[in-house]
């Protein structure tokens, strides 16, 4: 039992993060000051939220490349509403953001489910559609800090017990996901659908519907993050979070989510996101050339996937000979 915990992916990843933090602290001691670690966690919060959404999509053997575009479009929508109706309370804007994100996620889900289009194609398409819509909505204009209301910008920054609300939301979503994934029929069906879609059908699980639910949930989280992102950086324009979908997928992969579906944990995903977040936050203070930064982030992903491939290969055992060999 103990050995199982020690050799688990999550434990290895957690150790890697601790070693990484120690190395950074050696070069820049200020990094491990609690305030700086809290900053780094807060900065990683959007990545954690998005990675959890992406996790359930990948679990069902799909992928959602439109998360960053969804985030940007939702962010633009709520920012525009805020500039038009500055008195509208923030909770209503958050509900609007989640709804907008949910709709965009559901569109991905429906296209995958009802039209049977491969998810990578669907989301590649919707990714550009959503980005295009931002341009149409905003006519290429930026929404800037002075146009947003103060309460709009203040919400994610508001501190409770020395942590900003943004961090608390990431923690809350993580806890919800732990319960959902391990304790609810829907959560279990994500694993069933990804692990063995054929068997899932025999167990009475609708594969397409489960994938639809995964996309919808992922969209809802992207929508929520859209508001948080725009409020935090106090700017909304067409290209916000450009290329962020790749960071999100990378966080999942580093966290041990199998791209082939069915394997992965919430804690792993969160650790994967934190691992990337630590690298992103540490590189500026350590003073490495920007080209080396790219190489380091890339190397971390490949090492993680190599690890993944190695550990999952040990698990595989050939119980039955493939059919064609028998005859």
């Amino acid at each position: 039992m103990i050995q199982k915990i020690i050799t688990s992916r999550e434990m290895i990843l957690a150790t890697a993060i601790v070693i990484l933090v120690c190395c950074i602290a050696y070069v820049f001691p200020g990094f491990i000051a609690p305030a700086n670690l809290a900053d780094a966690f807060n900065d990683t919060s959007p990545l954690i939220i998005l990675a959890l959404g992406q996790m359930i999509v990948i679990l069902t053997r799909c992928i959602d490349l439109s998360v960053a575009a969804n985030l940007a479009l939702t962010g633009m929508i709520v920012a525009m509403i805020n500039t038009q109706f500055p008195t509208l309370p923030v909770p209503i804007l958050i509900v609007i953001a989640i709804l907008a994100g949910t709709v965009m996620g559901a569109i991905n889900g429906l296209l995958t489910w009802k039209l049977d289009i491969p998810p990578i194609v669907v989301t590649l398409g919707t990714m550009t559609i959503y980005r295009g819509l931002i341009f149409l909505l905003s006519e290429g204009q930026w929404i800037n800090a002075h146009e947003m209301s103060d309460s709009f910008k203040a919400f994610p920054r508001h501190e409770i017990l020395h942590l900003p609300v943004l961090s608390w939301i990431a923690i809350g979503v993580t806890l919800l996901f732990i319960v959902m994934v391990s304790r609810t029929p829907l959560g279990r069906s994500f694993y069933a659908v990804g692990g063995n879609p054929g068997a899932a059908v025999y167990a009475g699980i609708d594969v397409g519907r489960t994938q639809f639910m995964a996309f919808t949930l992922c969209g809802a989280l992207a929508g929520l993050t859209g508001y948080l992102w725009v409020a935090r950086y106090a700017v909304a324009y067409v290209d916000i979070a450009g290329g962020f979908e790749l960071d999100v997928v990378a966080a999942c992969v580093i966290g041990g989510i199998s791209i082939a579906g069915g394997i992965g944990t919430v804690i792993g995903t969160v650790l994967g996101a934190i691992f990337l977040g630590v690298i992103k936050n540490a590189l500026p203070v350590v003073g490495i050339s920007p080209f080396a930064q790219l190489a380091i982030s890339g190397a971390a992903i490949i090492i993680a996937v190599a690890f993944n491939a190695k550990s999952s290969r040990q698990k595989g055992r050939l119980i039955l000979k493939p059919q064609e060999l028998k005859g």
């Binding site: 200020g30 290429g140 800037n144 936050n281 203070v285």
Partner: protein, 328 residues
């Protein structure tokens, strides 16, 4: 074959017939990178100002809907078909537009590029909003103006491969010693992404506790750095400056995170471009060393590449930001 000849004759006749109509007013086309960008809308305003000052000029403000060279080539081809007198273009691609613009020049259309240039073969002259040495000097001067006793400053750029930014920083480093006590401690890269720029600015504040100013010669970087400084509670302590747009920086000037910043004035730029195009139509010759009139902006002196610089970047601060924030 007969039909083709008939058609050709008919077109020629039509062309001859329309020519006198054009002689009444000169038509100058201002082609921008894409429609709907505040900067270019402001440039169009300047162009209108020049057109009404000259009197007999009709300004055609046009451009593609997205920033592609293909879109601009289509626009240019249709302008050639309309037989405009001059085209002033801010190019999406230095080389891709050359064939279309050469065709325009062969038809007697005067072609200039402004803001973002076209290769030498594709235009008669290029109007730079400012020159690289002027910009390099301006960005360090902006920081130094508020640091009479000197201090640590850092540069937050776009990507490490961004040509413009690298040249400006290089020019800045050449002249920084003229400013008393200004010590450039680091140059970091935010890749023109709001989140990465924000993080780099946070990193600068952490690794250089004595930092007095952040110079960001990029409009995404300056906004993100100003937000990071505000969030760290250091507005007023660390001055964020560089190149930005008034509409995007208004809030940060108000909060005190940025005391001043600069950008070329797009109204002046559009005005000058139209004035230059008009001068060429009136018979001015573009060549190395030539001085070409551009109305209230004076005259443009061309270098060996037939390029010239309009003026110093224009400085915006609390005193004038409100006049400009709704324009661009």
């Amino acid at each position: 074959m007969k039909l083709l000849r008939k058609l050709l004759v008919a077109t020629a006749v039509a062309a001859v017939m329309t020519t006198p109509a054009q002689a009444e007013s000169k038509r100058i086309a201002l082609v921008v990178k894409a429609l709907g960008i505040g900067f270019f809308e402001a440039a169009a305003k300047g162009g209108e100002e020049a057109a009404s000052e000259i009197g007999d000029v009709e300004l055609i403000y046009t451009g593609p809907t997205d920033t592609t060279a293909e879109g601009q080539i289509e626009v240019i081809n249709s302008l050639i078909a309309q037989k405009v007198d001059a085209i002033a273009v801010s190019a999406n691609d230095q080389d891709a537009l050359v064939p279309a613009l050469k065709k325009a020049m062969q038809r007697g259309i005067k072609v200039i590029s402004w803001d973002s240039g076209v290769a030498k073969d594709g235009r008669m002259l290029h109007l730079n909003p400012s020159s690289n040495p002027l910009i390099g000097n301006m960005i360090v001067k902006l920081a130094a103006d508020h640091l009479p006793d000197g201090g640590d400053v850092a540069v937050l750029s776009a990507s490490a491969t961004a040509t413009n930014q690298n040249i400006w920083i290089e020019e800045m480093n050449k002249v920084k010693d003229q400013y008393n006590g200004i010590n450039v401690v680091a140059t970091v890269y935010g890749d023109d992404l709001a989140d990465k720029s924000y993080r780099e600015a946070e990193g600068l504040m952490k690794s250089h506790p004595e930092l007095k100013a952040i110079i960001a010669p990029t409009s995404v970087g300056i906004v993100a750095a100003a937000q990071a400084v505000s969030d760290a509670g250091k507005a007023g302590e660390i001055n964020v400056t560089g190149l930005g747009l008034p509409s995007e920086m208004a809030g940060h000037i108000e909060s005190g995170a940025s005391k001043s910043f600069a950008i070329w004035n797009p109204i002046d730029l559009g005005y000058s471009a139209v004035m230059l195009a008009n001068s060429l139509i009136e018979g001015a010759e573009a060549g190395p060393g030539a001085e070409i009139e551009m109305g209230r902006m004076g005259a443009l002196t061309l270098d060996d590449n037939n390029e010239g610089a309009m003026a110093d970047p224009f400085v915006y601060d609390a005193s004038n930001i409100n006049d400009f924030k709704d324009i661009f």
